[in-house]
Symmetry: C2
Subunit: 721 residues, 2 copies
Amino acid sequence: MGRRSGGDDAAERGTVVTPSAEFPALSPEELAALGRIGERWRSPARPGQELPVDPTLGRSRRGPAPSRFGRLAPIEMFTVEEPDELCATEPAHAPRTRLGRGLGRLRRAVIGPPLSSAAVLYERMRKLVALPILSSDLLSSVAYGPEAMLTVLVLGGSGALGLSLPLAVLLVVLMIAVGASYRQTIPAYPHGAGSYIVAGDNLGRTPGLAAAAGLMLDYVLTVSVSVAAGVHAVTSALPGLRPVTVPLGVLVIAVLLAGNLRGVRTAGNIFVLPTYAFVVAVLAVLVVGYLRAAGRGFAPVPPPQVPAAEGLGLLLILRAFASGAVSMTGIEAVSNAVPAFRPTEWRNARTTLGWMVGMLVVVFAGLIVLIHLNGLVPRPGETILSQLGRLTFPSGPWYGLLQAATALILLLAANTAFNDFPRLLFFMARDGHAPRRFLHMGDRLAFSNGLVALATVAALIFVAFGGRTESLIPLYAVGVFLAFTLSQAGMVVHWRRRRGAGWRYRLILNATGATLSALVLLTAAVAKFAEGAWVVVVAVPLLVFVFDRIHRHYATLHRALALHPPPAGAGAAQRPPPAEGQELPQQVRHLVIVPVARLNLASLRALAYAASLGQPTLAVHIAPEDEEADRFREEWRAWGDHVRLEIIVSPYRAVTGPLAHYLDALHASRPELTLTVIVPEVVLRRRWHRPLHSRVDQRLRTALRALPGVVVTSVPVHLSE
Amino acid sequence: MGRRSGGDDAAERGTVVTPSAEFPALSPEELAALGRIGERWRSPARPGQELPVDPTLGRSRRGPAPSRFGRLAPIEMFTVEEPDELCATEPAHAPRTRLGRGLGRLRRAVIGPPLSSAAVLYERMRKLVALPILSSDLLSSVAYGPEAMLTVLVLGGSGALGLSLPLAVLLVVLMIAVGASYRQTIPAYPHGAGSYIVAGDNLGRTPGLAAAAGLMLDYVLTVSVSVAAGVHAVTSALPGLRPVTVPLGVLVIAVLLAGNLRGVRTAGNIFVLPTYAFVVAVLAVLVVGYLRAAGRGFAPVPPPQVPAAEGLGLLLILRAFASGAVSMTGIEAVSNAVPAFRPTEWRNARTTLGWMVGMLVVVFAGLIVLIHLNGLVPRPGETILSQLGRLTFPSGPWYGLLQAATALILLLAANTAFNDFPRLLFFMARDGHAPRRFLHMGDRLAFSNGLVALATVAALIFVAFGGRTESLIPLYAVGVFLAFTLSQAGMVVHWRRRRGAGWRYRLILNATGATLSALVLLTAAVAKFAEGAWVVVVAVPLLVFVFDRIHRHYATLHRALALHPPPAGAGAAQRPPPAEGQELPQQVRHLVIVPVARLNLASLRALAYAASLGQPTLAVHIAPEDEEADRFREEWRAWGDHVRLEIIVSPYRAVTGPLAHYLDALHASRPELTLTVIVPEVVLRRRWHRPLHSRVDQRLRTALRALPGVVVTSVPVHLSE
């Protein structure tokens, strides 16, 4: 991948997030070319070249600078850092319009005051803190994974529910294999091992982009699914809220967005609680449930008779398996976040991952078996975990606590995606695979653009699927297992290349993980194709295509704007380059054009501005009729004919078209001229006045944009009332 | 009214429509001021002030000018008219983009090739041609007027239908009174006597605007009502088309719009036919109908029993009267169009009006009585004229011809509004009461903006009312009679002021017309208030308010941009005026600012452009962090530090805000400086590339628009691929 070219240095910045990424440094070659260009640069020496104003705004002096503008005063807006360097303080970011200031206050109330770049923190986590934060995504999956599997199985009738036990065994094997596979990734990528990075590093650009596409869908669906399941946990306990499922979910997403726009640092260790509460609550359900089952000698309660909706075939079983596999989404979280651990980072991270997988296996297997023993069947309207909770704690506050903890951990899991999605986009944008705006850190140091994009797409999907978890599951599995497969296949290549100690053993372990993940991926894509997986099967290649086209565009742009050393001996005697190829002041030849519609203060100001530049100047008037042309020429002569005037009669009454063609013709006859079109622009004070003006200046600017070598200058005249 | 200040000259241009109206001439005072300003204008004399290019594009020479651009070549785009004057030919109006050229071809296919300004025609009409064209609006009203009256009456039960005869007598009196009143207006306003002009002239600005608002609503509703009635005439004959009433009507409006965008001249005398056909068909119905009625001794056929839906009170009768009064809409058409007649214009126009009113009275009264004799009752689904036609011509093609002629004359009436509405807007825009864009004649010499506005509003109203004529009628009467009342009240004032021969008699005649119209207006507004008239009662004052605000804005603008002679003795020694008050080149003091985000070809080109202007130049870089600031300064030094650089550290990472505030602070410290901000702008070749760029240049331009004395210059760099 492009960014890897710098070797270890590039690997080092793999997970470093900095606001300076928007301003990449010049390469050494470009720096050298810049120096060569600079040597030949000569600006025409003229009297008065000294600046007519102090660029430090007189801040080096004592006392406030003079100001005409009351509260828009420069006072305290800028402080002098060193000679030629000012630092903007908070007031310098204040919006300038009244509406803008009002919105700014609202914004500040919701997401807080701006944070300085210096506030970027690199917090390190203890294992006991890291475990709950990083495992929320993984553990919360058991809130909907088992249910998703049983929901499919019950389609084959209540008799098919017994298949949940062998399927659970298979899934536990899968969890352990994938977990072991990821354990190995951690020491190999101590700077963070997102699937995008691992797959891109080892398999090439396109698999890396495919992994990124899979991950992006994964993050979006994590939000949609977790919020759907969380709302379902709440409506299971409080059925009265069921009709407002969709607005409730959108509200939750909006709150998550606002919280993340504020920046997560403000919340701190509060995130530890829901995970521990959820684990304790589920363990309590398991202990009480198994004690009660032991009381009746572990005899399973027969489930209520449910007629089979479809035949119990292989396809149904595969679909159930693929649905159950969503229980392990989030297993990759630790490997992404290695640098966030305390030293020795990779060792602590690996231990945490081991605990997490162990906990997942216990909770997942325990729940599946207990559900089987109690003969529970998925019901619309109430989650199976809620049914189990009601059965286990028929009275007392315990049931309510279980549901609350479930909802909270799901919220936390959705929040994880809000952390990871904008970071992924940041890394992709740094490589030129995503729009550069995702490099920009908002004034709260959060990647606001990525957060808003995630919340918007997740909310749209949530609404489109009516907030029903079971409808979203088929989409979910494919993206997740695509990222798993590519990441682990990448590790296989990694070991084959590096051949460190015990590389064969490691390779086999990762190969197993990759193969199993690929099988689940295939199962999910094929078995659930018609149910919604096709969306993902279509979206991933489409996204890869878009990422690739974006990369191409940025590469083109970078090539076009790159600095090259000037050709040797290119003196002024040679044929001049065309206008836009001129890099040196002494090469630029001017012709200033002033379109004049009528003679008034605005056009006279534009003419005065043009003349004061001291360059050859031509005024152009577009007349609809000969009579008008004659009248205008008389007025021009009354003024004194100070500027050469050319009148273009436009018998079809269009203005911008003939003017653009005229400039094009001028350019064609002398391509080395830089044509500066000076347009007077009356700045209106009220928005509703705009339709009252034909906005020729804007239409002209649009028409002239396409012309090479044409510079457009707007000379404003502000209305005072 | 403002425009009347010029006296007779202004009255003369009352109805002259010219494309030069967009470019009003300077007043003598302004012309004098312009000369005074010109005397003091001194542009800095510099070598190379001769133009580096021939502004006539070498067209004075033989052979085509050189070109790099193939078919965008200047060849044949411009012809030389006289020295310093070019004439753009048709190719110079061709759109520059491929999409634009495609749309241009489509446009040409639908509305025809552009027409030169020289093609404005002032056709004069013979009476036999003028009569049908101008009377279509008036005569077509009998296609829905009698029915509208009977539809209300029948609500009082079939017994109430007998009241149609006394009401018809009242309406005939009204028609004759208003007709006589308008007959007097014609010689008094031989240059055209639109209600807007007559009311504005004699009663003042606000009544004039109220008349204009009423007329505008009248024109819009003429289209909606005529199209609705025309479609109804068609669906009465062909009931199968009834379900597509609304799409059919919208299609008709679209065809009318396209036809009028082409320009009516292409159609010529074809407009004479429908009116004569309609008159002949209706007269045939009357003759055959009365002969048949004579055969049974004029004994009325009793109407079928219809139960009363509401009590037969005064209100019902008044509503029926107001509805019937719409039969006389269009009576004002002749007085608007006096100059279109052959000499002696006013005499011919007056004669034509007399004939028209006579024909209206005969047809209207004849139809009402015949309907009564035949005991017809309004039915949904079939017009009463269609019922009468079927009864009169049970077999043969006559019934079909009647319906076709009715539909065609209604179409013609709608077309009248397409003629008059944009002209009204043109006159209003010339007085500054409507947006100036309504002054612009499109490339077919039609007022395209006004036509599109009319078609859009009429189609919206048509759709909103489901294309049902009877729902539209209550809105219709109020606007029409408001214009009638104000126009005739204006004539009363006119006679009182002029006091010519027999002025008392004329005054009484006009006063009678005004009073009767005012009574109908009041009746319609009150009796039909709840049925829809409230829309008009609200809309008229609202429109007057809007017209007034528009006028105020243009007046402010005109005052702000008006030329004033420079104050005596204002030499350079005095304190310099603030930047935007500088009208003379020698007053302008420059500071050129180049915001540089990173050093590449685009920013170097901007710097070279800035330096080549030879004015004091300052480069500004906005850095998100101190580290980035230091790195940028190093790169700047590697280049050679040719331009003074000021770095602004923006710790909250905003770019445009701090830059705008910095410029504001510079401006505050030296308000006489003109700050020219030179922004490099990468011009993208594809629209979908736009979201990939943060478009700082555009955001900067928006942010800087509000700052006084800041000129923004875009230096483009075009990507070649």
